[in-house]
Point group: C2
Amino acid sequence: MQMDRILQIAVPLTGVIALVYAFLKAGWIKRQDAGNATMQEIAGHIAEGAIAFLKREYRVLAIFVIAVAVLLGVGYAQSETSHTLVALSFVVGAFCSALAGFIGMKVATRANVRTANAARTGLATALQVAFSGGLVMGLCVVGLGVLGLSILYSIYSNLFVEYVNGVPTELSVTRVINILTGFSLGASSIALFARVGGGIYTKAADVGADLAGKVYEGIPEDDPRNPATIADNVGDNVGDVAGMGADLFESYVGSIIGTMVIGVTFITAFEALPDFHFPLAGVLLPLALAGAGILASIVGAFLVRTREGGDPQKALNTGELVAALIMFVASYFIINALLPAQWTAPDLSRGGELFTYTSLNVFFAVIIGIVAGTAIGFITEYYCSAEKKATFHIAKASITGSATNIIAGLAIGMKSTGLPIIVLVAAIIGAASLAGLYGIAIAAVGMLSVLGIQLAVDAYGPISDNSGGIAEMSHLPPEVRQRTDKLDAVGNTTAAIGKGFAIGSAALTALALFAAYMQQTGMKTLDVSQPFVMGGLFIGAMLPFVFSAIAMEAVGRAAADMIKEVGRQFNEIKGLREGTAKAEYAKCVDISTKAAIREMVVPGVLAVAVPVIIGFIDYQMLGGLLVGVTVSGVLLAIFQANAGGAWDNAKKRFEAGITVDGQSYKKGSDAHKAAVVGDTVGDPLKDTSGPSINILMKLIAVVALVIAPILVSFHGVQIVPPLQAGGVLVPAPTQGATGPAAIELTPLE
Amino acid sequence: MQMDRILQIAVPLTGVIALVYAFLKAGWIKRQDAGNATMQEIAGHIAEGAIAFLKREYRVLAIFVIAVAVLLGVGYAQSETSHTLVALSFVVGAFCSALAGFIGMKVATRANVRTANAARTGLATALQVAFSGGLVMGLCVVGLGVLGLSILYSIYSNLFVEYVNGVPTELSVTRVINILTGFSLGASSIALFARVGGGIYTKAADVGADLAGKVYEGIPEDDPRNPATIADNVGDNVGDVAGMGADLFESYVGSIIGTMVIGVTFITAFEALPDFHFPLAGVLLPLALAGAGILASIVGAFLVRTREGGDPQKALNTGELVAALIMFVASYFIINALLPAQWTAPDLSRGGELFTYTSLNVFFAVIIGIVAGTAIGFITEYYCSAEKKATFHIAKASITGSATNIIAGLAIGMKSTGLPIIVLVAAIIGAASLAGLYGIAIAAVGMLSVLGIQLAVDAYGPISDNSGGIAEMSHLPPEVRQRTDKLDAVGNTTAAIGKGFAIGSAALTALALFAAYMQQTGMKTLDVSQPFVMGGLFIGAMLPFVFSAIAMEAVGRAAADMIKEVGRQFNEIKGLREGTAKAEYAKCVDISTKAAIREMVVPGVLAVAVPVIIGFIDYQMLGGLLVGVTVSGVLLAIFQANAGGAWDNAKKRFEAGITVDGQSYKKGSDAHKAAVVGDTVGDPLKDTSGPSINILMKLIAVVALVIAPILVSFHGVQIVPPLQAGGVLVPAPTQGATGPAAIELTPLE
């Protein structure tokens, strides 16, 4: 029990440290000079628009959250293995995610103008401000995640855990974690709104602003006179800061809870060991790792600084690298301290057979997670980078027109799924060989452990981007714009890496949740040759396609509204074209906001209703659905992110000037115009439909996990715990034809 | 044994009837008037180019076939459950498919000019000629398929089937079918080359011809002066006639063989029945259905005729409908005649549990297949049709430019995966509920049973299209062109339906082959929660993406070569621009030919090597791979086919003139130009990469099935036949937690 107590204090403490440090950083940012009046006015518009969106979104969300909470409460009233408190977890999870998003946005919209102002004097401080803005977001996400989870866990375990001979029973701990999954569902709900709604918002503004110039004569595309520019800048914050934050908050929480569920299977095994007195080690390990990751992130963040004329990329890399190294070492000691050196327990990835685990192998699984996440990020960066072959290929294809540009981009996007999938498969097989399904889940936790600093680097990008926009609109001297451009260029790279990382972690989290679902429904195998499972697989695989289509069409509709509004203002506001009158920015912000909220209803309902319906038809079919949505979701997410990123940077190549077969092409050439088409096509793919799939995968898995206890009683599933203390070992028939003979325990009744 | 003998004569006889009838039809077509000298010259160029391509392709193929045959021979030298004769099956399968393609092309390139000439006098004869051209192709495919399979089966069964008490042993029949799978592999190899190579050929010419006008000033796009036009017309034959034919030949053969493999499991059960003396009924049923389908197709074909001024669509529909109705009735009687009313046998879709089959339910499974294939075809047509909402939506999006056109098309393509997948899932679950995995396989056979007439309707499209081109290039009077346009418009609809049907049948065939693979490797379940299976699933799902990318890039490269060549000719050949000198068509044909053959190497190697490598790593992983490639393959194939088809018809809407929000847009407007971009993007998607995936799914499954005996001995799999005569029934533990208690037989040793 000793270790239990320590963790119950230490883990929430790391959450508190994260929040306190975030608070201090936020104060420091606020104290920075916000620049001249023009800058402050523009930044004010952006901040106002961003907060206005969040407020409107949260109002809708509040209704949604209350409704779902009531449904959960009612649904669980009869459940023997869960409790109506799952509704409380849900509300707290939603609140934590929303709060992290709110603070992150608030600080980001303060940091952008201060970064611009700092860039007037030098690069070093500008980097500091932008990164600090991101860090507040990152620390709020991990801090609130860990704090919320650990405190709820403490409360529930005090209420519900039952002990037999001083050992907590598997059933009661499972119940506690069941109730806790509500937290994850809350996080997922906010993520859905923030990612899908945010994605629609940002691209409606972006695509609308770009295309208004095409439809109406003489409207400048990137210019303060274009009424949609402010909405465009707001969108960067809404989509890339709050949306990305909520996405990774969901992964963070989901991977931890998925691992906790699987960790329950170790209780009996641990109890049977002599000289080992911490049966909950497997359950609490993910929280301990997350707590350590917070501290590692903070230490890493200290090292993100550069001298004047230095390379911001290097500074960011150093910070992330140091955090990862600390995590390497810390996880080794934590795992050694918490887990026994060796134990035997059933493993679902081996059909429920007994498997011998070692603490060293669990450590290696964590490492696999960290390495795989980084690898997928860098592969993404390779395909999207403006310096690499892929974007040159697309740029070259632009010479023969936009059709060939599009074909080339689609091909690059599809081809780019190859390596990340191989990395993912290697990680799955590696982690599972080392430590079974627990290995896969803990690898996801490892991948996300230093999320604090990773998210800081991610959010740094849009802040830098915004600062550049503010510098331009406020007509600051060119050297300022040069500095913000330097920050922004780095931001593009980190954004690409971040996108790959988000997909990889979403996939591993979805698998962890799938494993948890299998366990909660008592499945030992999931046989795809069964028609319902196969059917679930097909339907699951289809969902990301339909979901993407809905998101794209939503952007199309919202962008069309935006184009009309821009046209109206140019027609009705006298002097706007000449720059003597002001555009009505707020109207455009309003259009994006309304569209985002209106358009997220259908995908939201789809994502929640489908798993529920399928689950009530057949709970194994729902298992197939989870696998299908993950497999096709990862592919479609990578395809869309990389095609979009590659198109974007192929276009940027023309801005610097590009030479193909001895002929040079510049900005404004026909080839460049063709490349702009690709960029516009890629926008909703990489920023709306693609990232939405991350949410879809996890949300469906979380919904499945949350309703698992209801499905179990609805279908009358008899759950036989695979290993019951005092059971008798009897040989069971082999799985398939070759596997080693399975050992199965018959529970004593 | 009586029924056995009857089928061994009757089935090959239907094949002979098909071939004789095809021969007569081909003679009739040849006797039609081929028109004036100009027409004959142009048609000559097309025929020459098409045959030149086939000859070159077959030369490469011959080397490939010999090499693989040697490998197979060597690989199977040691196999106890198969035989080196598998190499012979392979060669015969490849030969039959190649021969069907050769005859089909030859006749199609004769029918095109004769259709154009017939259109000079009236629509009715033109329809007759075009449809007859297609019918020759259709009948050659089904005739050679059935003839090849049934004769080889007779030979092998005489050689290898062993009898115990007059009953053939499961092991020896399995061996015969094992050897027969080589036929399917041969068909798949040709399909790969014909579909992928043909797809690259046709789109290199098409895209190249279209874009040459963009790159070089003043080159007309659709005009006899453009040197790539002949290659473009050749491409229609190469891709849409020979490619489609080989694709469906593969499905046809694959579905029959997959069902035969599963039918073996009924031998013991049938033998145990009193008063039933045809243990091979389950094995031979698919061949009997295919034979009946040939006759139904021929009867249906008689009804394809129209009066002057009639509707060709109606005539084609009548023919197909009558054939389907005959098949409905015939299959009822055949199934009743061959199968016992009721029997019990193990079913792999129920984890190898015993299941009670009835002949009536098998009949319903066949009906499900026919209905599902038709439904998927019509859904495809809905999304692609020029009259429907989807294409209007894309056309409308074209007003704001090519970027929004592309986004709308991508969204429609993705959205259009929803309904077909639901139909497919309903078919899978329905067929399996009725008759287990055998039900799924026989549904595929049902779907493909009237392929003779379906393929005739499919191939009718490109023949009509070609005839229109010839009419235009030969400057025939406008009423002729009007008639061919009428035929062509119908051809576009049938092509869309045909594409959907090809995808649906490929999916079901791939599943039938997967089921056969499971059976041949002795798997009773395939548990996706096992990491290797999960890994296989991910890698399998990734392959269609990478495969599509390779195909698209190949088209891009080949089109670039074509553009250069067109430019060269316009620069170097004096008078070409003015129409006084002739273009060197042959050079362009040559470029497409070379590119197609060069570019099919990598995807070919990929499709064959990956399943072999994965299979040797872990044979269950290969099972996961098959499922993954099918699931993601179907989705990506539908997405690409429908996006491409919708873009195509959205463009065509402008040709007729379209009114949006009160404003009208015509051919040549900016909106139309934007729509042309979408059409060009869609070309390789719908005609190269999309259809290639059909092949990929089936080829990988066939490779797996063919190497199954080798994998079994390599991995030392002990195959326990689920039901052995005289075994003892013992209760086995349940699969998962809820299923009814499984009954398993312990073989007596």
